[in-house]
């Protein structure tokens, strides 16, 4: 069943298109209040040509819109908007908004900058005609910097969830071992830790790839990244510790104790420290978390399915390894 969940999440993750958005908007003039100026707009997944008649565009300054006098559509993703002279009221920055029935509302904050000084008056305020929410097809949110790589949310974050779930499972098994000294629990814990390490490694790799495409570097000096690396190190030390003790019961006891230690430290490193320090990661260090910012209803079902899918697959793999080990031991 875990495989089904995974398949669904992978398919939905890749097949759902990204919502339309504005990639770039360039103004033709530095001063916007001298004369008419034009803004060249490039969109993503937009359908400018199909919506030609219904396409409206306006610039906002201090929440007052100024409509475009003419909209020239070049192709589906390329349009030129002509604006009358505008003198800014509040800041020298204008927000560009476009609307069409098919694309919905496209917003680019602080798209155009003007070298004019801020004055009091604003000419030609107009009222654009926007109906209420009209997202008529199923798409993922369009976010700057992320663009298409938002799909990595389904791969990278579930890896970490799965690793933590597996380590919790290992912790539970360690506790059970220390209660009854039944060696089976120790074997289960051992296999869980090994699979958890593999998931952690995959999480680091996917995170590194994502970082390269969004932040520009394979590895940054970020608290969460360091914390997860150190957690991996401590569980690798767990494996080293297991190798250094011969007697089975003693080994099980000592490694159970160390693993409980390492688990608590992991909670500190991955959960607590990133919230205290500044961080590039969403959800830590002053950035808005994914849940209320990006994870709207289109992504949520796929995301939860992915998390559950990977957790189930991880526990399944560790269970299989444990059973293989038991069979191997029974036959020697």
């Amino acid at each position: 069943m875990g495989v089904l969940l995974l398949a669904y999440s992978v398919y939905a993750g890749l097949a759902t298109p990204l919502a339309p958005g504005i990639i770039s908007a360039k103004s033709s003039a530095t001063y916007t209040s001298d004369s008419t100026f034009s803004v060249t707009v490039f969109g993503y997944n937009t359908r400018f040509q199909s919506e030609n008649a219904g396409l409206q565009a306006w610039l906002m300054n201090n929440d007052k819109p100024v409509c475009a006098t003419r909209v020239v559509v070049i192709d589906e993703t390329h349009a030129i908007l002509h604006f009358p002279p505008i003198a800014p009221i509040k800041d020298p920055l204008f927000t560009l908004k476009m609307h069409s029935a098919g694309d919905g509302l496209l917003v680019m904050e602080n798209a155009i900058w003007t070298a004019d000084t801020v004055t009091a008056g604003l000419t030609q305020v107009c009222q654009p005609n926007i109906p209420s929410e009209d997202q008529n097809y199923h798409a993922y949110p369009f976010r700057y910097i992320l663009y298409e790589s938002i799909r990595n949310l389904f791969l990278h974050v579930p890896m970490w969830f799965a690793m933590i779930a597996l380590l919790s499972w290992a912790l539970y098994n360690n506790f059970k071992y220390l209660r009854g000294f039944n060696i089976d629990y120790d074997h289960r814990a051992h296999e869980s830790v090994k699979v958890a390490l593999v998931f952690g490694l995959l999480g680091l790799i996917t995170g590194s790839l994502w970082a390269r495409s969004t932040w520009g570097a394979w590895w940054v000096d970020d608290t969460k990244l360091n914390g997860t690396a150190i957690t991996m190190l401590s569980y690798l030390a767990y494996l080293v510790l297991r190798n250094s003790i011969e007697d089975e019961q003693k080994r099980a006891r000592v490694s159970a104790i160390y693993s409980i230690f390492a688990y608590v430290m992991m909670l500190v490193l991955i959960g607590l420290l990133p919230r205290l320090n500044d961080s590039l990661h969403p959800g830590n260090g002053g950035n808005p978390a994914f849940s209320n910012y990006d994870l709207d209803n289109t992504m949520r079902p796929v995301f939860y399915a992915a998390v559950l899918g990977w957790i189930i697959v991880g526990i399944w793999i560790s269970g299989i390894r444990y059973r293989m080990r038991k069979i191997k031991e029974a036959h020697t």
Binding site: L178, I230, T231, L233, S234, L236, A237, V240, L241, S244, I245, K250, R253, V254, A256, I257, Y258, I260, F261, A262, V264, M265, V268, L269, L272, L273, L276
Partner: protein, 219 residues
Amino acid sequence: MWTRQIGKLVKRELLNETRQQYAVFGIILFVVSTIFIARFSFKAVKEIPTWNALFWIIMLFAAVTGIARSFAQESRGKLLYLYTVADPRALLAAKMIYNNILLVALGIAGMAIYGFLIGFPVQNVGLYILAVVLGCSALASGFTMISAIASKGGNNFALMAILGFPVLLPVLMAGIRLSKFAADGLTGDGAWQYAGLLIALNVAVSALAYLLFPYLWRD
């Protein structure tokens, strides 16, 4: 009864130290020679981040060296004797208290020597001393437990380092951040957060050790 046991055990450790003096003097020698090496290489370290980091590295390795023998030096006969006589938790508490005293004293002394030889560009001295005390205390508790674990695994220094560093890195990071706050002369929310974190880590490590040590002890 229990506190009396701890008291007697701590006294035993101290007595052991004064007789076989190589332990404490060994660590002091280690710290002083590393500080001298630093002085010969750097002459004087002006920038605070470097200065701070160097101090904490020296303290970390002194901690590992000093506490590594804490469980390792008991021979098998002594271990058996202790097992029959003392409550394991009392023994652990005694070792932790002793190591705490040792490492905090070493931290203060090390800080003094370091400042004397390499320079002391610290603005907020009180907070810095607090940072050193809290950090060394948390390191001591952690390394005592790690030393107990490693002593079951063959008594080598490498194993204790491998086990200890990843698990105690949060303590080190919090200690470095807090002491950097102190050295820069800043106070306020951020600083006390790290101090609280150090205390919390210390308590967590000690509590875990207290709960888990009896399982480790049955040998």
